[in-house]
């Protein structure tokens, strides 16, 4: 898929934003309310003690802000495409993309940008910069921090993509589609609150807890090379799985359009 085509899709997304102004406003407000709820909850937890779950108040807020940034980055780039993809597959409307001379996987992954989520993404980034201002972080670690956010957002994308691709085989699976969202919500908390078995599963099998906790672990100088390797390798493996499933799904796909 060429950059020219992608920019055209971005332009169409922007035109939709202009057409659905109220919807866009509501999406931004919803993001803000959700973010506020998380911050208020954090303040309430830390009204009980100064150091919880092995994190200070600021570190906890960094965790929430970085995990939210990953989530909003995913939403900005991919959620609009994913929102409709399952229905498109089930209703046999993939044909329109399949006959075009583009990579169908990329076309459907990058079909739309969600501009309203970009506002929330911006807010979460600003909050992170504010929270990190008192830390002395080397340039290398700043780059690594950004890479961790990107890896986390990519992991959320891949988990969603894999689950949505199951629509080639399973009908009526709205709740199943929400599984990655459940996992992300579950992982937006410090790793120390979970029992060891859950921690291991979400650190080394589906490393979403590792992804969300990695930025704050980096700040605390507790991110190991093994952690980093697990994140990179899992991103690569899940990307291969997502592509493989898409190809197999297309073989299974049929429609009467």
């Amino acid at each position: 898929m060429s950059m020219k085509l992608y920019l055209k899709l971005v332009s169409q997304s922007f035109q939709e934003l202009i057409s659905y102004r109220l919807t866009a406003t509501l999406i931004s407000i919803f993001g803000l309310v959700f973010f506020t709820a998380e911050i208020v909850a954090g303040l309430v937890y830390y009204s009980v003690a100064d150091n919880l779950f092995g994190l200070t108040r600021i570190e906890y807020m960094i965790l929430i802000a970085s995990a939210t940034t990953m989530s909003y980055l995913y939403q900005t780039l991919f959620i609009s495409s994913h929102e409709n993809l399952a229905e498109t597959i089930i209703e046999g409307e993939l044909d329109y993309a399949l006959i075009r001379p583009v990579n169908s996987f990329l076309y459907y992954s990058l079909y739309r940008i969600d501009f309203p989520s970009m506002i929330n993404l911006f807010i979460s980034i600003v909050l992170q910069v504010y929270l990190l201002k008192d830390y002395s972080i080397s340039f290398t670690n700043v780059l690594l921090y950004i890479c961790l956010i990107l890896l986390g957002a990519n992991l959320i994308f891949l988990l969603n993509q894999i689950i949505i691709t199951l629509s080639f085989w399973i009908e009526k699976s709205q709740k199943l589609m929400a599984v990655p969202e459940y996992l992300v919500d579950f992982s937006m908390r410090p790793k120390n609150i979970y029992p060891k078995a859950i921690r291991v599963a979400l650190f080394y099998i589906v490393p979403i807890l590792l992804a969300t906790n990695a930025p704050v672990l980096l700040i605390k100088h507790q991110l190991s090379t093994v952690n980093l390797l697990v994140l990179i390798i899992s991103n690569i493996l899940l990307a291969c799985l997502a592509l493989k499933m898409w190809k197999e799904g297309l073989k299974k796909y049929s429609s009467s359009n």
Partner: protein, 258 residues
């Protein structure tokens, strides 16, 4: 009778797609577990055994009941009217000899029935043994009023579908407000007194925090009566708003679908 049939049809439909249903249950359970794990960790770290009048067991009970309540009072229906309007299905519904509100209510009850029964069983198991019968009856009345009040509130918000094309962002917005105002993450009594005294009277607090502490036998009969009356006042107010917005919406409705 027709409303019972609608409710039963929805009930069976919920159970037909088992994978969907079980996945939903697992997702709901994860939501409860997050809060429970967080608060267990808070109690382990804190020097105090009692926080905001709750010891660790009471807090876990609080989180389970309030989170189960949120599952029971699902906000799914908030987008229902919008969908009927967008697809033009409302036209067919208007032609049928039934009340749309009653039809939506039976559909809601049917969909929630699969949760209502286990919820009531869990309630009975979890209720403190010292609870008095008249208190228990009043908690039940408070719960029923809340159920109606919350349904009408969702219908009021759902009527926005007459005026807004895309209704899907409304649901996460309502969920976020419910999380914040309903005391799902933490008991509202942990907030500063002046904020708490206002927040505990909102519809979300009545179905969330207030009902949960009522179940936990932490209210007096007088306060429970007050909350029930406030819930009835909200119910009447929302019903008035629903009728008004529905009438105004119908004037705008074109019935063509989109």
């Amino acid at each position: 009778m027709q409303y019972v049939s609608i409710a039963l049809a929805k009930f069976y439909s919920e159970l037909t797609y088992k994978l969907n249903f079980i996945t939903g249950l697992i997702g709901d359970a994860l939501g409860v577990l997050i809060s429970v794990f967080v608060w267990i960790a808070v109690y382990e770290t804190s020097s105090s055994d009692v926080i905001a009048g709750f010891d660790v067991n009471e807090m876990i009970l609080y989180l389970i009941i309030s989170n189960l309540g949120m599952i029971l009072l699902s906000t799914d229906i908030v987008t229902q009217m919008g969908s009927f309007i967008k697809k033009g299905k409302l036209t067919t519904m208007l032609l049928r000899p039934y009340s749309i509100l009653a039809c939506n209510f039976s559909s809601y009850v049917g969909k929630r029935l699969v949760y209502i029964i286990p919820y009531l069983i869990i309630m009975v198991i979890l209720l403190p043994s010292s609870i008095r019968l008249n208190y228990y009856a009043l908690v039940l009345l408070f719960g029923i009023v809340n159920f109606f009040m919350f349904f009408i509130l969702m219908q009021c918000i759902g009527n926005l579908g007459f005026f807004v094309i895309e209704m899907w962002p409304i649901r996460p917005l309502v969920n976020s407000i419910y999380l914040l105002l309903g005391g799902i993450y933490f008991p509202l009594s942990l907030l500063p007194e002046n904020i708490f005294s206002v927040m505990k009277l909102t519809p979300f607090a009545l179905v969330g925090y207030d009902f949960t502490v009522a179940v936990q036998n932490k209210l007096t009969i007088e306060v429970l009566w007050q909350y029930t009356v406030i819930s009835v006042i909200w119910l009447i107010l929302f019903y008035g708003i629903y009728k008004f917005t529905f009438k105004r919406g119908l004037k705008k409705y074109e019935g063509m679908g989109a």
